[in-house]
Amino acid sequence: MDLQTLTYVVVGATFALYLGIAFWARAGSTSEFYVAGGGVHPITNGMATAADWMSAASFISMAGLISNMGYGGAVFLMGWTGGYVLLACLLAPYLRKFGKFTVPQFIGDRYYSQTARTVAVVCLLVASTTYIIGQMTGVGVTFSRFLGVSSETGIYIGQAIVFFYAVFGGMKGITYTQVAQYIVLILAYVVPAIFISLNLTGNFLPQLGLSSSLAGTDVSLLAKLDQVVTDLGFGKYTTTAAGSTLNMFFYTVSLMIGTAGLPHVIVRFFTVPKVSDARASAGWALVFIALLYTTAPAVGAMARLNLFGTVNTAVGIGSGADGQMVVKSDVVKANGDLFAAESSLKYEDRPEWMKRWEKTGLLKFTDKNGDGRIQFYNDATKNEVVKGKAEAAGWKGNELTVNADIIVLANPEIAKLPNWVIALVAAGGLAAALSTAAGLLMAISSAVSHDLIKGAINPNISEKNELLAGKISMAVAIVISGWLGLNPPSFAAGTVALAFGIAASTIFPAIMMGIFSKSINDKGASAGMLAGLFVTLFYVFAHKGIFFIKGTEFTDLIGGANSFFTITPEAFGTVGAIVNFAVAFIVSKMTKPVPAHIAELVESVRVPKGAGGAVAH
């Protein structure tokens, strides 16, 4: 069976599975629609949370960015796992004890204010919608390559499928669908990584392969990679940071506290039976997440080495007897000249995968020196030795550009793994993007129907109409994010990082102060969230355009790009959070103190005793 047909079969089969589960578990009452009756086992919940959590950004985009960034890619790894520590010990058990099922509801009750609740809804909508834009980008890339359609058509197909099961399934459908999606996506991620790790290092665990020697040599994989990239003028793989140290620090903080503030993740912890289960659930979720997150650095490093090996025969990684990429130990030991004329791959000899990706426009070759060979190096390097060697070899600039978002999807093709592995990766990428999009849509739907309409506009709305309002708001969110996904602000992971910054600067501080402080009052919390949202969006929009619309950037107004202490917009959520805390504290000092019954509420949230099931009202 050829690759195209096989991809249709595998992707089609997994979709049939998800839709089948969603149909089988169709939700009945409102409370089932939102929290699956509060009766999900911690391990099941952990797996569903992991699927919910690991989106197109984690699956499709992250390892590609790590591959390009090297050490600096660690901001994603630490940021998107370390947040679970905060979630487990600062938020989840207390929100579970509180026993309501939306985040704005907690904020509204704790700050005894409909205004605070409405502000929380607005913040949640901005963060979730930005997040879904990233997912739509990922869906578009995946469909465009594997189903041979344009990325626009890919986004339309994705919209239709997300709409179908999020709207007709509800949370319960999604919980079990997401367990299935987790299994598909983790297999799709780990299987090719095991193959590649075995081929390159002889070690079948990619986590160990990362720090092993190349098969048949005593040169470590990372040392070889460091040598190849620096010889070709790129930054050293194991030490190149993501901007300044301060930026890396703030970037990681922003992703961590954003994790703990994103409503679609928090809401998962309302669905476990007990407070103690909420703590363990976060641990289980992280176990399942870490399977992918500890594999990603190996995927990134090995993909980079395979890529260089493909286009430069002196690297010492090339096609073996069965066609897969393996280590040529004598070439590695000989440490040949990367700049020798015959080292660069002839364009006409390029492998099939390059031809396939060239069609999507995400991989490009231009023969600048007209020698019919591919020269892949950093022509902007400041290293004079590299510049001299390139000039002497007659190189006239870098000739190959590879979009970071294709690395994971192309990875099994680069390594020349069997076709069924490539098809599986396509199914995994779609599972990741769709599961997260569906979880976010649930959060949007409950925020609008439950917190905004039932809470503020029409408290007497019938259960049926409340469900209907939720479904309509999902449909609207799908259309808006799909539309913005056509012109995304960044790579999938970059867009998602912006969403985390928004959650970090608004929701996280409000919840945390709500539990750990009795002195922050209604006005303080509302003002804090608004201030955090405002400064973060201002800085982000300055770089990425107002509401991410191209051409409306205003970096000049803030004195150039990254003008605030070298901090990038993706890392700015941390600054927003600090502003939020400060404003909340000052405003609370100047206004009426928290009433006694709210102080008692905070006391009761702090102890597990007396926690009932998650209730609707």
Partner: protein, 86 residues
């Protein structure tokens, strides 16, 4: 008022545990992974520089252990102060 002082002792035990958890959390990620990564890179761990390894592997393993340790310790604290669920 006995209840009140018990609740206060429970909360301060909780905060004590949280402080320990957050110190470890901070040291492995921001400390070993970012601030001192340069110095640690002089040490080789397997075939990887140690600072790089903490940033891309080690910190994640510590996070997992940390959550389960916290969940267990918190259960102990719940029982000690009679605050566990019914």
């Amino acid at each position: 008022m006995k209840d009140d002082s018990n609740a206060r002792a429970y909360w301060s035990a909780t905060l004590g545990l949280l402080t320990k958890v957050l110190v470890i959390w901070f040291v492995v990620s921001y400390g070993f992974g970012i601030l001192f990564a340069g110095a640690l890179n002089n040490i080789s761990f397997g075939g990887a520089p140690l600072g790089f390894w903490f940033a891309q592997q080690g910190s994640i393993y510590v996070f997992i252990a940390l959550i389960f340790w916290y969940a267990k310790k918190m259960g102990d604290i719940d029982r000690k102060f009679g605050m566990q669920e019914d």
